[in-house]
Symmetry: C2
Subunit: 319 residues, 2 copies
């Protein structure tokens, strides 16, 4: 079944091809699914229903890739499986309502481990008003896979924030310091749900995304969707380097700034704020400045008068 | 993390425990999720929204368990991943609207195999008005896992058919012959969507389920949810043995009737018809009679005057 004549790989190329493959034929009965205005490839898909749409997302986590069951306990793993989905809701500033949970449990798991996994997900979901209401339980002889799907509603007073609305002159902000999440925060992070609602209401951002695959890669997704570029201020970037990034840098020799730019699973929000909004409004929300949206495509670093392109890479599946 | 003091295993025990674990605390903000009347554990979960609820289901398929990528082509595998979810919609006689698809692709897959998998799912979904509108793409060094989730609406004129409404005196019917699906039908079956809508409208069934884990096991789920029992007529059961079950019986020596009772993945519908409905209405829908619902709990086989209990087992994960 393999086509060796196709050398391209990588998740970005796969998603690009899927966007073409899954484009709905015009006149298809189900085309009303696509009319709610959120394009394929945003953090959540949209199901319009009369006046208020449902939003809908899914994330799949695998043992040995997204967590390590030899080290982490199953309740914490379940919490992460729920939290990454809640972070997708935060990325669009919407309100999670309920979750489905599908698992392929390793046959080596005990009943109590299996229950801990789902309990960890459910209890963390409940804290955010999002219980597990159904699912699918399977088992096999390979490592455990857990997939959670969340249905959410828009805020009553604000539409979902998309990733394709950034415009030249907008300012770039982030909800917290970045890099080195592998030292533990990738499991214990708090999805920025309530903060995302405040941001949506108080600064009405043009675009937003959660940083799951690294600042550079996730920012490039916003820029690609919005057909623009961005410049990051070197001093501002320096100020959002997480202490974990510095610790990691001390042990692996990779610059701390690169950890902040390229490490995945920070799950902070990258916020594109309209040019007219006063800086103090962003600072009052606890946001950190990062840079500015530009007309010229691409991503670059500004240090005084100097400009240098920032290479775009990060965590990418299917290489 | 293992608790060796807990000997119980098996998917049924796991689901029983999950039903207790996931019971919503009264007063929880999200408790309105549970009020639409469809209990946890039915074929789909319910998201009420004003007047018309959404229904929601998920199924996860694993290479080497639900399909074999060494033998089956990826497009057919994708079709099955969509079809098992559409069959859940048929089980409740509801109308699928859109799907999410999450995958953990084996790193040995080519780009074209990965696209074929998702194309197979999407095109089969589109045929039933249910395109893929989003998802999550991952890869790893283990066999491929694919999980599809479907959102559906009730028929405009009929509520979803649950599995807990069977009553003594109701008659039991099935939409097609059973057993031996492993010879190929488990991949190529047609989910009984349109037929389920006709059934819902014309005989207003008290309960319905799709046969995914075997007639005996899926029927026992209806009986457990409805707190009643059933008797199957030996002659009727004989008449719904699929030719594939007889072929399999000839090669493995296991009685063809046992294949009809215990083989999984027929994806026919088991229909519980109110006592008052005339037989001809069921026969006109192409249904095959199977037996009757009883007050006494348990499942038994009636052959003339003789009654024998039918052991309940079937495909069960997490043994």
């Amino acid at each position: 079944m393999s086509d060796v004549s196709q050398p391209e790989r990588g998740e970005r190329e796969l998603i690009r091809r899927l966007q073409r493959l899954l484009a709905l034929p015009t006149g298809a009965g189900a085309a009303d699914v696509a009319v709610a205005g959120v394009p394929f490839g945003d953090d959540m898909a949209v199901l319009p229903t009369g006046s208020t749409p449902w939003l809908w997302t899914v994330d799949m986590l695998m043992d040995g890739v997204d967590f390590d069951s030899a080290v982490h306990n199953w309740s914490v793993i379940g919490r992460k499986a729920m939290a990454v989905n809640l972070s997708d809701c935060a990325a669009m500033a919407v309100v999670p309502v309920a979750a489905l949970c599908a698992v392929s449990l390793s046959n080596r798991l005990s009943m109590s481990d299996a229950l801990e996994l789902i309990r960890g997900a459910h209890e963390f979901g409940l804290r955010h008003g999002c219980p597990i209401v159904g699912g699918d339980t399977n088992s096999w002889d390979h490592p455990t896979v857990v997939s959670i799907s969340i249905a959410a509603r828009p805020l009553p007073d604000r539409p979902p924030v998309r990733r394709d609305g950034a415009r030249a002159g907008d300012t770039l902000w982030v909800t917290g310091p970045l890099g080195g999440s592998i030292l533990g925060r990738h499991l214990t992070f708090e999805p920025r749900l309530e903060l995302s609602w405040q941001i949506s209401r108080q600064v009405q951002p043009h675009a937003m995304i959660d940083i799951s695959d690294g600042l550079a890669l996730d920012l490039s997704r916003v820029l690609e969707a919005s057909r623009c570029g961005a410049v990051l201020w070197a001093e501002a970037l320096e100020a959002v380097i997480h202490p974990d990034a510095r610790r990691l840098s001390a042990s692996d020799g990779c610059p701390a700034r690169d950890h902040a730019l390229y490490d995945g699973e920070d799950f902070e929000l990258l916020v594109v704020v309209p040019a007219g909004v006063r800086e103090v409004a962003c600072r009052n929300l606890g946001l950190y400045p990062l840079g500015q949206i530009t007309d010229e495509p691409g991503l670059c670093l500004a240090d005084g008068e100097a400009r240098a392109p920032i290479p775009v890479h990060g965590w990418e599946h299917f290489r």
